[in-house]
Symmetry: C6
Subunit: 77 residues, 6 copies
């Protein structure tokens, strides 16, 4: 069985950001496991400025964690 | 008596994420101990995009703590 | 005179979580010192999903502090 | 001229918490310098559960900073 | 050309707090560059308890960063 | 192919702040990829005090990460 989160390590900051987006989404899935309900909610919040900003806040919080886990990709670039 | 939180250590990042979800839920239980009331509230917020994003924010905050406690699972993967 | 917060050290993660809950509640008391008003507000937010999630967020923030103060209880378990 | 914030050091965790409450209040004063307006707003939010929880969140964020500044009062208690 | 943010270093905690307030305001300016619109919005949120608390939350987050950047002004006071 | 986020390193705190603003915006783009919808939402939140403060909160969270990644630009200024 493969894990959806085998590691917090990513090759680049950009991939780290994508992982943060994924981490933000999984909590929603775990709280609302019904894909049909989630699909119904999506257009609603994707066209709501407040919800989009709130999603961005969750991503920011996870990105802090992923960045720390990667020592801010200091060896790169 | 067993503890619901014997340790913050988990074997994998995925299990750490699951622990973060649990940590988010326990505060709700402690503030609203009546399981019947919680069951009544659940469908309400599970179909509300704003509430789902807010839950995801709490999970993100706890995940930061659990990840730090596990030194970001650096020895793994 | 005894302090309500003599230390951030706790024996276990579970006790640390309980301390985080307490830390979240004290700020409410300091802002609204009238116990009668607080008692009136309690059922209101304890049956409101958004408020319960917001309380959980405050607890998460304090738990991060308490966990760091205890070096994540690394010597335990 | 004395400073309202000469240091982040406090003798005890409890005093650190009080400093966090103060830090939360000063930003409100700087954004709304008119004491009369603030006095008018106070009863409003002091009887509003959501506002009280939001205040508690700000205090939690400042307490994290003050606690770190005091190395979590590790030498005490 | 002078920078509005040449450094995160401040002489005192109080100046650090003032910098945090400034950091909170600049994001608003960058998102709403029209000074006239901002002037129109100001009385609105400056008399709204929820908005004042939200501003205080942003300041708290920036103050954490500024305080860490100054090693909590440990050499002072 | 160039990355939108090759590094978290910036030459100055001001550039770090600009990167934080960018990091806040990208999550919105990833959640609402339709530029037309985003353009429609923009005036809405850019004239809403609560939304502007919420954006500022996301920027503050990212700025904390960028500042840490740059060791608070301690060698500068």
């Amino acid at each position: 069985m493969t894990s959806w989160l085998p590691t917090l390590k990513t090759a680049t900051p950009e991939e780290g950001y994508e992982l943060a987006v994924k981490l933000a989404r999984v909590a929603v899935k775990l709280t609302q496991p019904d894909a049909e309900v989630r699909d119904r909610l999506r257009p609603e919040y994707a066209e709501d400025a407040d919800a989009l900003i709130a999603v961005s806040q969750v991503v920011a919080t996870h990105f802090a964690t992923v960045a720390a886990a990667n020592d801010y990709w200091r060896g790169k670039a």
